[in-house]
Symmetry: C2
Subunit: 329 residues, 2 copies
């Protein structure tokens, strides 16, 4: 597949992103555990993006989008309205590129998220989720200050940045003498899933592609089924906040539609059990939404016996109480 | 320093070990966290040996010692009497080299440790710690079956295997354009400390060398002070079981004596706080004894302001209850 001229996204954009991120984003390890392989009956390669700067893959997309701006726009600075992993990623990207950043957050955002954004040097602007609209608040900042919005997934440069995860999986698997035949990616807006699935299907033939979402909140699988963007009926409200955004991305949907993609879902309990397995066998700290793919493997929702599976442990920013609940005796 | 002809250990032995382990042991990542750097005021490079096969660095030494045996001895198999990380490492090394292994364990060893050794294919032999001597039990097996003992640290090949951690730190730091000027290593028998300090002092000039032990149980620091092997007065009995062995190794002591090494100690509470920092900022699962060096940094026992520090997060096999205690709100 060459780059789509309308979306402005494809393998070439991902390769360009890889060049921009080299020496800036962390080339996270591709982990393997013989005991995990034994549990699922296949070879499992875990891309540990929890070890990425800011504790999630999100900094790849934010930094690629930022570095692709012209000098003037870059100096003007960037804005986002995510309080979660993307917000911290935007803050970190701005610091790495030495430009200003604003993160728009609900007034009741967890203290740790506010502190993290500020630690990276971003300004935090609060809105009242009861009376104000975050996009309106963000829009005013964009206009007044001449800044650029970096959306969490609905942007070809962001998608390309996330796709570098897939390129690295391909390189690192080859270094181990392996070729994945199956890929599972945690999915919310679809930035990571569209990037990784594009990169890996370019590098390997005949891949079985899976996206994994919270049970009952599989907006992207439903979007793929009917061919247009779906929203979740309401926020899932469980432990998988990293993949609980309200709506699937139109551009990610367009990209995923070109591949044969199977949607899987996992419950909160299944995700927590996978967090515990990552703790015990891989020794990495994974947040529940980032453990969804591993959960799908562990409960046999994808049959990977005899197969070589790549998946992304996409982040590790987890509430201590949730983690303690996962890691029981 | 060239290899000591009496001890049979030095930089050449470590380099030979690196060749033997290539493609077998994991080249674990050297992690960095800007937030951690900010906390201690220096640049901290964390060698994540918790991501090593079996969840600790120990497999390096065991595998190097095993692969250095001649064909006959290797086929005869290996034995050890450690129920902890070294026991699992011997079991894994034997499986990687396709030879038999026996792990001698106290009858009351935790189930998980027994299961892990068996999973790797080792035979487990139990003794009654109240009435039997583990070395006597082990000796009988060695004689009766013609097997080879792989001790946890008192062996130049084991020390050389652990030293490959230091060689990799040097390579990986250089890839980042950095040169460590300070090193901290968790220390019990001294296999890891002697290996890493030998390797790093060969690669970099004027290093400040530190070993870190449990407070009140600093057998190696006392051994270094008086120039002969000391034992701990009793087992520490706290959470740092990974560095709570009864006695310092004579060969490791001889090697460490040639360097200017400062002994530091940390308490259980300091180690648990470091486990939490590794969880929150590095997203790796570290056991308390393997977090001792990080703990020493965090409480300012080594002043590393403006310095570039290498340390080893040496293992991640931690009891879930202990981990939950560490990871509080």
């Amino acid at each position: 597949m060459t780059d789509d001229p309308v979306i402005g996204f494809g393998i070439d954009a991902i390769r360009e992103a890889a060049k921009r991120l080299a020496g800036r984003a962390v080339r996270t390890p591709l982990l393997n555990s013989p005991m995990l392989d034994d549990l699922v009956g296949g070879r499992v390669l875990v891309k540990a993006e929890c070890l990425q700067l800011t504790g999630s893959f999100k900094v790849r997309g934010a930094l690629n989008a930022l570095l692709a701006l012209d000098e003037d726009a870059r100096r003007g600075g960037i804005v986002t309205y995510s309080a979660g992993n993307h917000g911290q990623a935007v803050a970190a990207a701005a610091r790495l590129a030495d430009c200003p950043a604003v993160v728009v957050m609900p007034r009741d955002a967890p203290r740790i998220k506010v502190d993290n954004c500020r630690w990276w040097g971003a300004e935090t602007v609060f809105y009242d989720p009861g009376t104000e609209d975050r996009e309106e608040v963000t829009g005013k900042i964009l206009q007044a200050r001449g800044m650029t919005l970096i959306p969490p997934f609905e942007d070809p440069r962001v998608m390309a940045g996330q796709g570098t995860v897939g390129l690295e999986i391909a390189e690192q698997a080859r270094e181990l003498g392996l070729a994945p035949d199956t890929v599972l990616v945690n999915c919310s807006g679809g930035g990571l899933a569209s990037g990784v699935i594009t990169a890996l299907n370019h590098e390997f033939e005949g891949l079985a592609n899976h996206i994994v979402e919270p049970a009952g909140f599989d907006k992207m699988a439903r979007s793929l089924a009917i061919g247009r963007v779906c929203a979740n009926p309401r926020p899932p409200g469980g432990v998988m906040d990293a993949i609980s955004g309200p709506v699937a991305g139109a551009r990610p949907l367009a990209v995923l539609s070109r591949h044969d993609v199977t949607g899987l879902t996992v419950t909160d309990e299944e995700a927590l059990a996978a967090v515990a397995v990552a703790h015990r066998l891989l020794k990495i700290v994974v947040e529940p939404g980032a453990a969804a793919s591993l959960a799908a493997l562990l409960v046999g929702k994808a049959d990977v016996r005899g197969r070589t599976v790549a998946l992304v442990a996409s982040g590790g920013n987890v509430d201590p109480a949730v983690y303690r609940r996962a890691v029981s005796d």
